[in-house]
Symmetry: C2
Subunit: 479 residues, 2 copies
């Protein structure tokens, strides 16, 4: 008998009108940090949070250090489910665009990015990513292209940007001679444009204030996963700390730091790799806090994700507990696990049995073949053993016949069983529509978050924050 | 080479300390509404939002009318994944308890609920739910029990509460003669305690101001799903509107309205049923806005979910679009679909073929057997047809042999295929750990949301809002 005594739509309009209170203009802040966890939404953060709570008796900075938090939608101009180029364009420029487009409006108009505006306003600019530096997310801060796939052209835009610090993973296709715009190796062009190009750990560590424009992108296309790195090499927190040191100047800076391999791990449904890359991303955020301590009132830190990847759910059939610490039993990321598994199968050869491969499975993922399976332990159920055995048969046949289909099924099954026992269930190899968390700390953090709903709100507000007159108002650090 | 130049933990503590800014005390508000969408988190809201945007060219009040929104964690004292009793206790009392407990601390201490405090402070109190009124969520506002399963005892507490209005679904086990505390039919006890018990639509519609304490719980154990109701009967918005009329008084009121069948639909992975119950829940919220328009400054509306149910993901393999409007092709909720499907199989009998059941499948879920399958249409792929055919064979055998296992497989497959074509993928029949959205509108809405992180924050702040001196300050409606 529903009788809306007056038009429902009328009340909807009434109520909706009431919330159009506009956020106050953000005043310029001297040091502005933006951290983007690619593919990182609530489930990914909850997973990492649960892990550090159990293993280190602390929480993530990511979740706890930020007093103001918004629920941010991620859809693109032409898509319910975004990818990283459209999402990064929204975050960098404050405009929704089509999937795949880099800092361009759907009609092809070039959009000014927050990084370009910061540069124009006399600030220094740093762009850091754990994946290839001309990948979609960092690209949307310095490049303009109809397609994220035009890696070489994006590399040209990088050189032309004149930004002060690029750090992280190397260039994808730096010497793409087939590109219509080809005019030489991007690294060489960067040198010609005045960049100090540092590609080894020694070269990167040797960079010191006064060096000028820096292109410190390591020697690999992307940084190793944190879990594979053994804490060696120049890692995301190191790049962040170095960029802070090199960019500090009286006019302030804007810095974007992307935890890009979180997304890659989630695409592979590799919970352990995502976990340890989120923890490392959190340590990069710690660098901004360390700096903020010395510059009270002059720092604004914004953290967001660009979308969710993997359709991850934390749950446990038949139980209300999860066991995320079990993920630590995975020795290497899926990238390595898959190749090691193929090698183990190949080495055992035609005569290789499932029993022979079991110690390898236990060694790589902690899964145990004897004992009583129960919640929170790694003992396999009979059904799980059968599944592994079938996967082994498939992968063995594929590996020995050099047929690509099926070669990685055993590694995938090992990893999935460990993920499930840990409480992680992935239902996609791609992105989902889940919103993300955006949080802020520091000067005007509350205003940055106030009323935020869309990822474009991030770009709009950060553009205000990188205005030409950095505020040095001594506002309290705490909200 | 990660070198945190100072202890990471130190910065964690530093940063975490910075955010302990306490929210300002909430001053009493005359009319306080709490809406709980059971099982409703981001994916459920996004689904309903996408639907009304396409079909009605508007948004949900739920998402758009509320200027202040928080990300609220849901875990229980003893569980990573909550159920409704612990969640409702957190929301009603401001204390985390163990799964299954109703307004009691883990040690068994009785917790005062926001509804009890409101009553003590001279307000009137209304409790409304679309599911059974002694179900866990409403129970946590008026009852105290170690187990949500003690339905009869919870019913006794309902009668003893003296609250002014109970509306929605009827009692579960009102005459449980096996209960150790048994002392008669709960409905009779309610009458003896002075309640006007109204169980039919006519009785409920006849209730008028001055009637005194009301127990208007309909004639069924829970309200029909909105999609099954044909807009007949007394629905959630009707109960809400009536409670507002009957409870309005100079001392104000506290009212809790639960969209409880959203959760039941999600347990069944029934996207259409969840969708239309969310839209109806949204219309119940509209009643509070309608009332607020007449009482500027005197109303506070808080909307939350208690947890996510179904591990729902919105996605579409190989596409960035979803097609939620297709859900409208499902004619009835799974409750009815399953029995209708069994009946159709039974009527066709031993000779019944898959071809014979196809028109039924098309009629019930819109799935089409001929034509070209493509994104956004309902034409089945060859693989989907095969899956339906196999499900039919299983269900036919089970139905005709009166074996319960497998009887509903065909109905489940029909529904799942429609859900998937619509962009909905469920990966659980139970709850997940996803946080929920809590939003607020009206008097001090901003303070209610400020710094909110835990579901217990809702209870703590609402307890302040139902203090004994309802504010009639004429603050602006808009924030």
């Amino acid at each position: 008998m529903i009788r809306l005594t007056r038009s429902f739509l009328f009340f909807w309009c009434l109520a909706a009108t009431m919330v159009t209170a506009t956020a106050a203009e953000i005043q310029p802040v001297k040091y502005v940090f933006l951290f983007i966890g690619d593919g990182m939404s609530f489930p990914q953060q909850q997973m990492a949070e649960a892990f550090v709570q159990k293993t280190e008796n602390r929480g993530l900075l990511l979740n706890h250090a930020f007093p103001y938090r918004a629920i941010t939608s991620t859809y693109a101009a032409d898509a319910f489910i975004t990818e990283s180029a459209a999402a990064a364009t929204a975050i960098a420029c404050g405009v929704k665009t089509n999937n795949g487009m880099i800092a361009m409006a759907p009609n092809g108009d070039r959009l000014e990015t927050v990084a370009e505006l910061a540069k124009k306003n006399g600030r220094k600019v740093g762009i850091i990513s754990s994946v290839t530096i001309n990948h979609a997310t960092p690209a949307a801060f310095y490049a303009h292209n109809v397609s994220r796939g035009n890696m070489y052209e994006i590399g040209l835009d990088l050189v032309a940007s004149g930004f002060d610090y690029f750090g992280g993973g190397g260039l994808d296709r730096p010497n793409d001679t087939g590109a219509s715009a080809y005019r030489g190796n991007i690294y060489d062009l960067a040198k010609e444009a005045g960049y100090t190009v540092a590609r080894t750990e020694a070269e990167i560590k040797a960079l010191a204030p006064g060096v000028g424009k820096v292109f410190a992108v390591g020697n690999t296309a992307a940084l190793d996963y944190a879990m594979d790195s053994n804490n060696t090499g120049v890692r995301l927190p190191d790049f962040t700390r170095q960029a802070i040191e090199l960019l500090d100047n009286p006019n302030g800076f804007f810095m974007m730091v992307e935890g890009g391999k979180i997304d890659w791990a989630c695409h592979a449904n590799d919970g352990a790799a995502a976990l340890f890359d989120i923890i490392e991303f959190d340590k990069a955020i710690a660098m901004a806090f360390e700096f903020a301590e010395k510059h009270p009132g002059d720092v604004l830190i914004v953290v967001t994700g660009d979308h969710e990847t993997g359709a991850l759910t934390l749950k446990n059939p038949g139980s209300s507990q999860i066991h995320v610490t079990l993920l630590a039993n995975q020795k290497v990321s899926y990238d390595q696990l898959s190749s090691l598994t193929r090698r183990a199968i190949r080495e055992n050869g035609e005569e290789g049995t499932f029993e022979q491969i079991q110690p390898f499975i236990t060694d790589m993922c902690g899964l145990v073949f004897t004992g009583t399976s129960r919640a929170g332990n790694l003992v396999l159920t009979a059904a799980e053993v059968t599944e592994l055995e079938n996967s082994f048969a498939t992968s063995k046949a594929a590996v020995l016949a050099n047929q690509s289909a099926g070669q990685n099924l055993l590694a995938q099954t090992m990893m999935r069983l460990l993920n499930n026992k840990s409480g992680l269930y992935w239902s996609s190899g791609d992105h989902s529509a889940l919103p993300v968390q955006t949080s802020a700390w520091g000067n005007q953090a509350e205003q940055v978050i106030h009323g935020m709903r869309e990822n474009t709100d991030i770009g709009k507000r950060l553009k205000q924050a990188v205005g030409s007159s950095p505020s040095t108002r001594r506002v309290a650090l705490a909200p």
